[in-house]
Symmetry: C2
Subunit: 344 residues, 2 copies
DNA sequence: TATTTTAGAGCAAACGATTGCGTAAATAAA
DNA sequence: TTTATTTACGCAATCGTTTGCTCTAAAATA
């Protein structure tokens, strides 16, 4: 670093050698006191630790990394081509990841990729800047997944993927949607509509499968015309609502909060009361649905926990442990007024 | 790296020494061929470069960093305690930063901080994992700003801050809001309402100042009761709309897309037509307002450009160049149907 | 031709850690 | 008391680059 860059406020960085010299021990001893590895006398160790605490020593991660062939960094693959309503999910997930990683002294490097352009990810990986990766969202035929797989980089995906042999962490979308549907069926509803977004997302498929499975289990015939997938624009959603109403649906399940909000707005405009005229349930990520009246029945997932779990799994892989290929996290069905039959 | 972690698919990493040996030159020569620094024969250089291209050599950034006292990483300080409607802004900004940084071979390390907890940021900085930082959002009395300032870390904020001596990059919120207001005034409107969110954000204040300034310039008296700031909950916004209508406002300016959407929904429910009954204008970040009918008059900023500019400035600082303390980016007034007086 | 300049390339010391191996002293076992 | 074992710690190589300095041969100058 040249002098002109050197901030005068910045104290000269303390290194392990400095400490060793000051204490009259070897660098080895200092290193061992810090890491706890190797044999070391208890009192020497404490002497070093005390000195370090007093003089506020912080290890140089680059040097450490070089010596250990570790970067202490994880790459989070973040999609740029995503809908606004997905952002809260990603942010929450990221929080979980960051916090879990910090416990192992790891930090998060962001690779922003689109479905067609993964150059960022490539650069980061090829320059050896990370030890592993977590993919926040996968598509069918996902370039990031393929790239990491082919290059033998340890990685975990959040959400399911159809790619072979990929370690993944996911909510139990299938079971959750099935459970919700079963409850609705058991309350006597017969015509239930399902409105969902991007069909390329595996999650859309899983939920819709759970939905169908519930009907089978319940022994009722499902009306396929009440399943509306790929509804990404406002107008599509509103048309679906119109159509569902025309077909006398008693309840609509929204696949995410954003869709749900749009459905509720539409119903309000049409002066259809929830739950008296029609019932509504949703999947839930953000806190926005909290304020709605009536309160909304929803499937709740712990999104930061999803990040945490992905991180746990990745660390397990990095430490050479065997991991199960798929980790499934639980869900919670929160029954509220929007599906109640008691409100008249 | 232990053997059990070693993926068999992974080719052994090529180092500068390997190349030097293979070509019968010294490591110095290889290094110089790559960096372009130092004296080197043109044909030797080309021989090295060709070998490197063929054998797909990628430098080890940790070693490089260690030798140069650089990390090739920038910390982006990302707020965890932010509203959902801010997320698109952050994401776009991040895209700008990531792409600009990549051009200098830099990557982005994420520090997630809340207003009260900046431990992530501390860890990253103290462990020497970054060369500088960009703060995505600042509050009055911002802990992150203070911390970086006190530790002499080079950093830039996106958005304005009141803190002394901080290098910042911002949209010209003041001028933009003033310009929009002037246009509305010049179209003959007299009662214009302004609805905005979190008052802790400097941006809210800037815009509201521009609004007021426009009235002064125009020589009209402004109705202070039509300024609604700190409206963060849906109910607050709806009440503001009611109140503005009661006070016979001719136009409402929304301070962000989210507020605008809520206003439009509310007006639709109240069966008030835009622009016939009341006019609406907004600040614009996400693409969601695109699909509205009528089309919405808005102030448009290039958000990724904001990130790019912040990055540019940070690199300038890192290279020891003098930078101006405040960089102000332009805006665009997009006039559409929602404020048109010609639609009857 | 003798001398200076310069271009091209290499040596070896950093950068700041980790770690396998060696050794002396202390302790335990024979 | 002798031998074996354990404990505490240091030496020096290593990780993969960069870079100041040195050296040699060729080119330029006198």
């Amino acid at each position: 670093m040249s002098d002109q860059n050197m901030n005068p406020m910045m104290k000269k960085k303390l290194t392990i050698s400095d400490i060793a010299d000051a204490l009259g021990v070897s660098k080895t001893t200092v290193s061992r006191s810090l890491s706890g590895k190797g044999r070391i006398g208890i009192e020497t160790k404490e002497r070093v630790l005390e000195y370090i605490k007093e003089h506020d020593y912080k290890p140089n991660v680059m040097a450490k990394g070089l010596a250990q062939s570790k970067t202490y960094n994880i790459c989070v693959v973040y999609p740029t081509d995503c809908a606004t309503n997905e952002l809260p999910f990603f942010q929450k997930c990221l929080i979980g990841i960051v916090q879990r990683a910090a416990k192992e002294q790891y930090d998060i490097l962001i690779a922003m990729v689109s479905n067609t352009d993964i150059s960022q990810l490539k650069r980061i990986v090829e320059n050896h800047k990370v030890d592993g990766a977590i993919i926040l969202r996968t598509l069918t035929e996902d370039y990031s997944v393929r790239f990491l797989n082919q290059n033998g980089i340890p990685f975990v995906t959040v959400g399911s993927t159809t790619e072979e042999g990929v370690v993944q962490v996911d909510n139990d979308n299938y079971a959750a949607c099935r459970a919700l549907t079963m409850i609705l069926l058991s309350e006597g509803m017969k015509k239930i509509a399902l409105i969902g977004g991007n069909m390329q997302h595996v999650v859309t498929q899983n939920r819709s499968q759970g939905f169908q499975e519930a009907f089978e289990k319940w022994g009722k015939k499902m009306d396929e015309r009440l399943i509306y997938l790929g509804m990404e624009e406002l107008i599509d959603i509103e048309n679906s609502v119109d159509d569902a109403i025309k077909k006398q649906a008693e309840c609509i399940i929204a696949m995410d909060d954003d869709i749900c909000k749009k459905i509720l707005d539409k119903l309000k405009r049409d002066q259809l009361e929830v739950p008296q005229s029609i019932k509504v349930a949703s999947f839930y990520y953000s806190s926005e649905l909290n304020n709605y009246s009536p309160s909304i029945t929803s499937l709740k997932f712990d999104v930061p926990e999803l990040g945490t779990a992905a991180c746990n799994t990745l660390f397990a892989i990095l430490n050479g442990k065997e991991v199960q290929q798929k980790t499934i996290l639980g869900y919670e069905v929160v029954l509220k007024d929007s599906t109640s039959s008691r409100i008249a």
